[in-house]
Subunit: 655 residues, 2 copies
């Protein structure tokens, strides 16, 4: 590797040394005449005229970042550090750091330090420090696409810190690379301008959130343990063996118990950027560890928490993304299911579910009749504008097939409205003229539109909610923009049911969210009579159709909590005895919320995956592709934890 420093150290000496030498205990250093010269201090960098005390170049070898210089700086001596992005015709080096690019002009005349040869020998992605003078680019050579495009820096000295070998992929935004290659070399992938932007935006967002919570509203940042007791039935909790035989810690899925205990402890207002863990095996776009903005307050109601979160997002929202309006729209769970077939509706576009039960109330069509006769049966539809015009026969077949696969036994009925207003549909001949009119009027279908219809009970709305999103995607791919990608639509969904029937045991109830959610006050008496009818003081925050947060006012009375655990959920309350005891020891009314930070940032920056806003994410199989974690551990290393691996029979020779 080429080192160039010796040469430079010898060229610049003199009175500068004193500035470089940090005041230290003198006995060993100055008194012995030893000069404490750090090769990385490079004496000449000390002679810079403008050492910033603050900002991104403080305490650094450089005087400026590579994205900073403008025509105002012309004539200044500057020092830049960065990566060689391009070498052009032995004339220019484009130097890059996190902030941008600067063009370095290579002096063409011979020089004692042989600058031209040294610079022209560089490989891309090598790391150098350049000292030189800011000059205005010759007229006509300005680059308007470059922030520093009016200037260039005439190199006078250079130091080569690190010569890069040939890399597995180029650090250019236009170079496409597979995600697994990116992950294997994440330290290169993070050099891309998009990843740099994502990581910095995330950091700034979190900083603003903290300012808002701590400095504006007096929250206390409290760290809670991640080595904790396993939640009963916590199938998604990673376990951590301890040195006591058979005893394990567990990595909690959220600090739920701790945040409530902190309220009982009188902390009053708690928040934490909390690392959470969830072992879900392989799931696309999930991460085994993730971060939530975790908030809990005492002496507050649902509206207080909602206002806090609105203020939080408004305060911390990046200026470049445009302002967001508060208060956010609020919708009940019932409204969401009725209008969108889902509890996290994408409200950026319409195409809502239409109830056609009235239209078909006296129909002769057999499958509609029988659907309507079911308890909770209905006929639902969505009208896809221009769907008949833009969707191909293959599209329609795929929509039908998807419905069959995912929402069996739901059957999808299609009604295409031709350009001339006539219908194309298997139902056509079964529909009377008035029913047809009624259908068109209720759905608002116009020539060229497509009506998707389904009949049944439980799954009808979710099916159509799903189709609504699929059709929006399809329309998008055909050039119809239903959703402005620069728009952020926040929505509160409230009044969720507190309990839902268990899938496998419908007469038994389970918590819709978690057992600590308080009922709506007006529903509280129902807890003791008809618990399935109780709505909870739970609120979900939805952004562009993604759930980015959820929270609730909690039960703060031990007797009510005990009733929910024991009589409704039929769980063993002794497993939560510490919480029940806490609620009997002077618990304030309290509530909170948790926002999924990774998801929020990914929507903010328009990333396709949360992996693009996490510095070192795991693959969808939960692997770190750079280091190959998880990895094998020797039997010997397992001994102190009193565990051994049970190898599956066919893999017993693997280790």
């Amino acid at each position: 590797m080429f080192t160039y420093s010796r040469l430079l150290v010898h060229t610049v000496l003199g009175g500068l040394r004193a500035h470089c030498v940090r005041t230290r205990s003198s006995t060993l250093t100055l008194s012995q005449g030893r000069l404490w010269v750090n090769p990385q201090t490079r004496l000449w960098s000390c002679s810079r005229t403008q050492t910033p005390n603050t900002g991104p170049s403080s305490l650094s070898f450089r005087t400026h970042t590579c994205g900073e210089l403008r025509s105002d700086h012309v004539g200044e001596k500057v020092t830049l550090c960065g990566w060689v992005q391009y070498l052009r015709q032995d004339l220019f080096i484009i130097l890059r750091d996190f902030s941008g690019l600067t063009q370095i002009l290579i002096p063409q005349e011979e020089s004692p330090n042989d600058l031209k040869a040294v610079l022209c020998d560089l490989t891309v992605e090598s790391v150098i420090m350049v000292r030189g003078t800011v000059t205005r680019r010759p007229a006509g050579q300005e680059n308007k696409n470059m922030l520093t495009g009016e200037i260039e820096v005439l190199a006078e000295n250079v130091e080569i810190f690190n010569v890069s070998k040939k890399l597995p992929f180029e650090i250019k935004d236009f170079v496409k690379k597979s995600e697994s290659l990116r992950m294997q070399h994440r330290y290169l992938d993070l050099r891309s301008s998009q990843m740099q932007k994502n990581m910095r935006l995330r950091s700034e967002l979190v900083m603003k959130m903290r300012e808002y919570l701590c400095n504006v509203h007096g929250f206390v940042d409290v760290e809670t343990p991640t080595l904790f007791k396993r939640t009963p039935g916590g199938a998604k909790e990673f376990i951590v063996p301890s040195r006591e035989p058979g005893r394990f810690y567990s990595l909690p899925q959220s600090p739920q118990q701790f945040k409530q205990l902190l309220m009982v402890a009188g902390i009053d207002r708690y928040f934490q950027m909390a690392r959470c863990y969830r072992d879900e095996g392989s799931k696309p776009d999930r991460q085994p560890e993730f971060t939530q903005v975790d908030i809990e307050m005492s002496f507050v109601d649902q509206s207080g928490i909602m206002s806090l979160v609105e203020g939080l997002l408004q305060y911390s929202w990046p200026a470049e993304k445009g302002p967001i309006q508060v208060p956010f729209q609020t919708m009940t769970y019932e409204e969401a299911m009725r209008g969108y077939g889902v509890d996290k509706p994408d409200t950026r576009f319409n195409m809502k579910l239409i109830d056609l039960s009235e239209v078909f109330s006296s129909t002769e069509i057999e499958f509609l009749r029988s659907a309507l006769a079911q308890p909770g049966g209905s006929v639902q539809a969505i009208c896809v504008p221009s769907g008949a015009k833009l969707f191909t026969a293959k599209d329609l077949e795929e929509l039908k097939q998807g419905a069959r696969t995912h929402f069996c036994p739901q059957e999808l009925s299609l009604v295409l409205v031709r350009a001339d207003g006539s219908l194309k549909s298997p139902l056509k001949k079964l529909l009377s003229v008035s029913a047809t009119d009624d259908l068109l009027q209720t759905t608002g279908a116009k020539p060229g539109d497509l009506v998707l219809m389904a009949a049944g009970s439980l799954h009808t709305r979710p099916l159509l909610g799903n189709l609504r999103l699929q059709c929006a995607e399809l329309l998008n791919s055909r050039g119809v923009t239903l959703r402005d990608p620069s728009v952020f639509h926040f929505l509160w969904v409230v009044d969720f049911p507190l309990f839902l029937p268990k899938d496998d045991e419908p007469e038994q109830l389970e918590s819709a969210h978690h057992p600590f959610t308080a009922p709506l006050p007006e529903d509280t008496p129902l807890l003791y009579t008809e618990p399935h009818k109780v709505r909870g003081q739970h609120y979900d925050l939805v952004l562009n159709g993604c759930e980015i947060g959820g929270g609730s006012i909690r039960i703060h009375k031990a007797s009510e909590q005990l009733h929910v655990l024991k009589n409704i959920l039929r769980e063993d309350p002794s497993l939560l005895s510490h919480l029940l005891e806490a609620l009997d020891s002077g618990a304030p009314p309290h509530g909170g919320i948790a926002l999924g930070l990774d998801r929020l940032v990914s929507i903010m920056v328009g990333a396709l995956s949360i992996r693009d806003v996490i510095a070192f994410p795991k693959s969808f199989r939960g692997h770190d592709l750079m280091s190959q974690a998880p990895d094998f551990v020797s039997e010997e290393d397992l001994n102190c934890y009193h565990i051994s691996v049970k190898w599956p029979p066919d893999k017993s020779t693997r280790w």
Copy 2:
């Protein structure tokens, strides 16, 4: 449990409702005439005149905190929420929240809401909300020891949120309780004024640190994974089984690799309040998870990092603790060992080690002669002022015994200087007059002082360093204050050896800190010739004799890193291949530091243990005494991780 809300809801109605009802989607709520009344909003709390938009009472039921009211507030209607601290003579309630105490005056006349009876029935630590008017206390009844001691609040309404049962201990600062009882009921323990103070000071400190790093110096807060690959030989790393047979994640002891990779990735300035894990079994005052302020910078030298940390601490230092002076004192490792016998000297007091080798260079005393004849042999002493006067025979015997036990085969020699200047020592008859004079002069021992002396090679200085601290403690217990408890003395220790001989294999070297530390530039050539002589660009930060941080400039060249790993440390470099590859891909010069946050805060607040600055710490055996973690996990739950417990023979029936 007594609920009081229905009564109140009925007493205050009218035009206030609209203010309470949060703007929501109107279809389900207002259009149906349903009023969205939350019992915790308590209608009357909406009529408060001064709802703060910011600060600790924003968005809350209360208008003020319990520590806030002064005589300026007299005449105001206020709402307070808190815990019943005391009930006095059916006349007063002292209400507490995190901010302090307020005296509530119980109205003595009969009232429709039977206020007196309700209030007098309360148990201590019950949680209530009180509305009333601030009044000036009658002359002579002010309490100067109470921030709110000039006023009291005449109660007009009260709501009881939670009635506390009898608690296992009282929440009074003067009530002593065992640590295990405190830990079992941590949610009660945290209510104490000291713990509230500690948690809040910690939060504020961290907030200021973030402001300094992000806002002043442009650092990027990056979260790094805690599920990672096991470090070869990482005996102190917890492991986490994955769902793939035999494969384990590991909880890293620090984000060392990630922070360096982030520099290679061009992040430029990284920091993180990083959760770290260390499985050390049972060690007093260690925690299996702890937090470090983790910092890394590119294009910086040692002095840059040191200045950054000084600025960081100065900026974030709590005002109440008085300002701290920068730059901090700097001392080399050699100086520290020579003067204090330890690499983290407590520089708040003198009593330094004195080298007596010269004094005894031609001594006849056999054990001194033989010690001086050893390679590196010396005679060392400390002079304990007033030690001869204040220490008992038992003290002296314990000092000698301790030396024997911990630093065998070191033998401690005592020289007591009597009030009349004569010596009392087993050595007395062996010392010539001139040697005695020389000894007294070199040690500066005066009548009443005690000289502790040891001779030998390796362990002599550490022994005396240890005795120095013991003697300071002893003097302290006898009323001689050597160390002002309000003083904070920061110290940098630098120029550590880069490698040390392995304890069990002295011809083999191991890293003094870690294998990524760069050598001092002037020592770099020695890497290839005499590596044991190389000093590293490592710096430790010491506060009042405790190491609170350490860092280094890192090796940023793959060839140098490979040489250290392979040729000096004789480790398998393939285990760090991703790091070596990164250093060959354009790595900038970089360095950083990690500060132990828990330790720093504990010294700041004068806590005896780091457990007092952690919300939910583990016991010294690593247990959570509240929830009983770690706990047993069923065989069934272990199946998906392909592990089973190897029960020790005698405990096989335990499960």
